[in-house]
Subunit: 243 residues, 2 copies
């Protein structure tokens, strides 16, 4: 019986992978994933079997990975960022159900909240919420409720999937909701293409974030009431009294 390891490869470059993720990729026989993520690792780990599915076929992808492991192969399913945070780990457990085989293990990776925050400075030194603006699997009403709750509770907020071709105005809609609670000059930041070609950061107030043209390679950070811009970095102080 083979095993299935769900691996978070981090933002995409080798440097931001963990030692454990690298080892799992080196030791496996089959690599399964969304084709864009598989392409990120294909060169470094050649001579393996690569199996890919398109973006919206997540369940097919997980079934394929479980079947390969059932055949006796050591399979890695790659996820960008973390394997659990908006990743495939949950779906793999769901599809295996109450069976005990194949063995599943989950190797965590750097999610964009960590890697994007480091690129921008240190916006998440205190309590925060992570909310995806994709309404493919969640109603917009629920997303709206979560944004408002986070803003009212003075949590820093990280927005995943702020926009895509089919949802070009979702970041604007989210900002309009946040502006009901937060001031227009609240410091915010955008981390783009973290760890990949074209990596960059933008720091700007909430009222200008509203008109920022985000795409699916962006992760957006909304500061809390203490967040400030220091030099060219976005920083949330934790409140140490001796500073």
């Amino acid at each position: 019986m083979g095993k299935l390891t769900v691996v978070g490869i981090g933002p995409g470059d080798y440097d931001n992978m963990t030692v454990r993720a690298d080892r799992a990729l080196r030791e496996c026989q089959v690599i399964v994933g969304y084709h864009v993520y598989v392409d990120l690792v294909r060169k470094r780990y050649p001579d393996r079997e690569f199996l890919t599915t398109p973006m919206t076929r997540e369940a097919d992808r997980c079934r394929m990975a479980l079947e390969e492991a059932d055949k006796g192969k050591d399979v890695v399913m790659v996820c960008s960022g973390d394997s659990g945070i908006y990743g495939m780990a949950g779906l793999v457990y769901q599809l295996r159900g109450e069976r005990e085989e194949p063995e599943i293990s989950v190797i965590p990776g750097l999610t964009a909240a960590c890697s994007g925050a480091a690129l921008l400075g240190a916006p998440l030194t205190h309590d925060f919420a992570v909310v995806s603006l994709s309404d493919r699997l969640t109603s917009w009403e629920k997303i709206e409720k979560r944004l408002t709750a986070a803003a009212e509770a003075d949590l820093s907020i990280v927005l995943y999937n702020p926009a895509s071709r089919g949802r070009p105005d979702y970041l604007q809609r989210a900002c309009d909701i946040l502006l009901r609670t937060l001031p227009p000059d609240r410091p915010c930041g955008v981390a783009r293409s973290i760890g990949r070609e074209g990596e960059g950061r933008v720091i700007l107030p909430l009222e200008r974030l509203r008109d920022f043209e985000a795409d699916m390679f962006c992760t957006v950070f909304i500061g809390n009431g203490q967040t400030e811009v220091i030099g060219d970095r976005l920083v949330t102080p934790r409140g140490y009294r001796d500073v």
Copy 2:
């Protein structure tokens, strides 16, 4: 002029460090940090200068690191978990202020939300909030407000610092607040000593989490309305329709 690199070493074992964090530790001259974290890396990176301060002297530790870099040394400040999420990156930027030197860079690491979730299964496949129960730098009223907001918005919740010797009943207090909104059978989990000796996981309903004896080595996960226990894992489905 030297440089200061703030490095998140992840939960503590070498395997969960990123390639980039490992390289920064190999290439630096001075390693600064809270003594427990410095001890986690001391053996693997010997022949360096090690500087430590006690737990509550965060600002002193950061000033020490900046001073060593000012002297021309390449300094790494180690943080457990991520360097930004409840880490020292923000304080380092604050203390350097508007100066441009020494150069500061931040290398992210696996925060306990990622590594603990992987140990428990996949409780964070959807939107979530991270809240620390330590009231050393935040009022308990604010913590209480954040817990309630997160529960009402159906966010999964990760509790950092759920208890310590000085705050033995804080997890109980937090559960009592959550139980005003969430049902007693809401699936929860505790990840303990992630990546270190004594690593373990416990899955239990919220009403029993209330009486769990957590310590400072625990990270606590509260499921959202969809979270379920599958086999011996805590899993939050994302809502794929074809499962």
